[in-house]
């Protein structure tokens, strides 16, 4: 207990976020027996992994005090690039995956360049980018009416989203790898220390010799990468790309980051908390679905729980 008291507040918030996720699981079991069954938990975690991947990128940019509002259409573009490049053929899967991820990285890097080099506020840059990608995707595919647009994801990608390895779904394994990699990158590498330094005090970070521009571009590129990756997995999960499939991920990814205990102004927080946040939000939706709640109750409960969790542990120190 003593150790708990001496913990850094942001580490404590990771524990709170995990506790919230566990509590929501237990609540689910209480109101809907069978909720904690293996199959049910597995499917919830797989869906949480999509949110968690997008939130990984969102977490990177929020840690430096930015935000990525271009997530919905980068995700959607990732999905459509994958299907139209692969045309559903297994042989074209590798090039399609590379193309989709490269698209995400390039778009993200442009976001980063707009923020870091042209000094455009992140909200404006990524909001405009979301519109630009939306317009390009809709225009170039004729509003998803092109003949290649109805292609399915290649079998490999579908398997990635549906199959299991040693009883653990592949998508979940992929997310676990990402959790480990992102946590390590943020906590023990120079890259991670530079990220936190930039988020805490950009000026001091630059004076300490950190390449603020390069870092910013890299972090936004990472966000684009993760959005595209989530798009690939989602299209594997659903089979085909659909219009607006990325829309729910904008606010959900931001919510996962903040209830995961990351400071929205940057500099403080851990990805482990964000992963727990992604699980919490998905469990919440599943509980409400299991209870057959109408849409409006789900929407209201979603907002109330986010605010409740934030009020419980996300408040700023008294000034």
């Amino acid at each position: 207990m003593n150790k708990f008291k001496t913990m850094a507040p942001e580490s404590r918030r990771v524990l709170y976020a995990i506790a919230a996720a566990v509590a929501l699981f237990l609540l689910g079991q209480a109101v809907h027996p069978g909720f904690l069954g293996l199959a049910s938990v597995e499917s919830i975690l797989v869906i949480a992994s999509f949110v968690g991947l997008v939130a990984a990128g969102q977490c990177f940019v929020i840690l430096i005090g930015g935000i990525d509002l271009s997530v919905p259409w980068v995700l959607n573009a990732g999905a459509i690039v994958l299907t139209t490049t692969s045309l559903g053929l297994e042989s074209r899967a590798p090039i399609a995956i590379v193309a989709a991820l490269a698209m995400g990285i390039v778009v993200g890097a442009i976001n980063g360049a707009g923020v870091a080099i042209f000094g455009i506020p992140a909200v404006v840059m990524t909001l405009a980018m979301n519109g630009i990608i939306e317009g390009l995707v809709l225009g170039l595919t004729g509003g998803f009416t092109c003949s290649a647009c109805s292609s399915y994801a290649p079998p490999f990608v579908q398997a990635l989203a549906h199959d299991s390895l040693l009883g653990v779904p592949d998508a979940l394994l992929l997310w676990l790898v990402v959790i480990v990699l992102v946590t390590l990158a943020l906590n023990i590498t120079r890259f991670g220390r530079a990220t936190y330094a930039l988020g805490n005090n950009p000026r001091a970070a630059v004076l300490a010799g950190i390449d603020a521009r390069g870092m910013t571009i890299m972090l936004y590129a990472a966000s684009g990468f993760f959005a595209a990756l989530a798009g690939i997995l989602l299209v594997g999960f659903g089979g085909q790309a659909s219009l607006g499939m990325g829309d729910p991920y904008l606010f959900t990814s931001i919510a996962a980051v903040v209830i995961g205990g990351v400071n929205i102004l940057g500099g403080r927080g851990h990805y482990l908390g964000v992963a727990a946040g992604a699980v919490s939000l998905t469990v919440l939706v599943s509980v409400l679905l299991a209870l057959n709640m109408p849409d409006y109750v789900r929407s209201i409960a979603y907002g109330v729980v986010i605010l409740g969790l934030l009020l419980a542990y996300g408040r700023e120190r008294e000034t």
Binding site: I132, F251, I254, V258, Y296, G303, R315
Partner: protein
């Protein structure tokens, strides 16, 4: 941000320069608006072989009014260094309530309008309390309340429908003449009065430096709550205008106002970092946004590409505005 020296401390010749530097955002917004108007008239003239007339003016004004109100609301909060993502939810809620409650007569329409505006103010009060008392960041507070207000709107009006009294529509957005301009002018006048009030001065003080404002005795709690309540009220007004021009309700059409109100505010030269800009700029931003849609329409741009051009335009406007503004501010005195 460097504190600005007051005009009196400068030599006489520099006062005009100082005035320009102080209002550069507004001046640029005015310039963009002018360019947008000229571009619209040119494209319309080339396409239709005549100048835009009463009908085009009326439809442009009527579609700009809801956004102008939402943008001015957003502007209040942005000036405090906040942001309101729940604007769309409040617009939805007002829109849905209007369609369900108003019935057939103008009187009931007006009475319910007052109630709906008060509901909007209450939504803003919740945001303001959570931000100022709850010590939560505005972006996450309004993210949560957006979901709540949207849920309430769907509860009020699960399916698009309901009805708005035709007399109420004629009163707010007369389809035959651009009378709705009166509301924009009233909004601008109300802003000018507010800007000179105690709350208006405090608003800018908080946006520029909250700690300094607190030290000078500004009531942060009260001022922030006022800003969020005005924001909620104006978002509800936007919902009323939207319902009036659609003559029916839909609990989801307002969603887009969250982001478009931010775009209008940015185009209007209001700084997202707080303390700089004015609601007049936000109104100009709303008109620019509406005109761009019209320009793309009459320019026969494939509507599927519309958001592409809007995004590109937003970036160009912000970059060019930033460069011009920066050059003028940095000019040696």
């Amino acid at each position: 941000m460097q504190p600005d020296t007051t005009a009196d401390a400068l030599p006489r010749g520099n006062r005009l320069g100082h005035l320009i530097a102080q209002n550069i955002g507004l001046i640029l917004a005015g310039a963009i608006l002018l360019i947008a108007i000229v571009a619209f008239i040119l494209i319309y003239g080339i396409e239709q072989q005549r100048l835009p007339g009463n009908f085009e003016l009326t439809s442009t004004v009527n579609s700009a009014v809801p956004l102008a109100f939402a943008a001015v609301g957003q502007c209040f909060v942005v000036l405090t260094k906040g942001i309101d993502l729940s604007v769309g939810g409040v617009v939805d809620l007002a829109n849905a309530m209007a369609a369900v409650t108003m019935g057939k007569s103008l009187t009931s329409g007006l009475v319910w309008s007052v109630v709906i505006l008060m509901v909007g103010a209450a939504c803003g009060l919740v945001n303001g309390l959570l931000v100022a008392l709850g010590r939560l960041q505005p972006i996450v507070v309004t993210l949560g309340t957006l979901s709540i207000y949207q849920g309430l709107a769907i509860r009020v009006l699960p399916e698009p429908g309901g009805a708005i009294p035709p007399s109420f529509t004629n009163f707010l957005v007369n389809p035959n003449a651009p009378y709705a301009l009166i509301f924009i002018v009233l909004l601008a006048l109300a802003w000018s009065a507010f800007r000179r009030s105690r709350a208006g001065v405090d608003l800018y003080a908080i946006g520029n430096d909250e700690a300094a404002a607190r030290a000078l005795g500004v009531n942060i709690l009260r001022t922030k709550i006022i800003a969020y309540m005005l924001d909620g009220t104006l978002a509800a007004a936007a919902g009323l205008f939207l319902a009036a021009s659609a003559t029916a309700g839909d609990a989801t059409t307002g969603n887009s106002y969250t982001l478009s109100s931010i775009v209008a505010v940015v185009l209007g030269g209001v700084s997202l970092f707080g303390g700089r800009g004015s609601a007049i700029g936000a109104i100009a931003g709303a008109l620019i946004t509406t005109l761009i849609v019209n320009i793309l329409f009459f320019g026969h741009v494939n509507p599927l590409f519309q958001s592409f051009y809007e995004g590109v335009f937003l970036l160009i406007a912000v970059v060019v505005g930033g460069v011009i503004g920066g050059t003028i501010r940095r000019r040696p005195k």
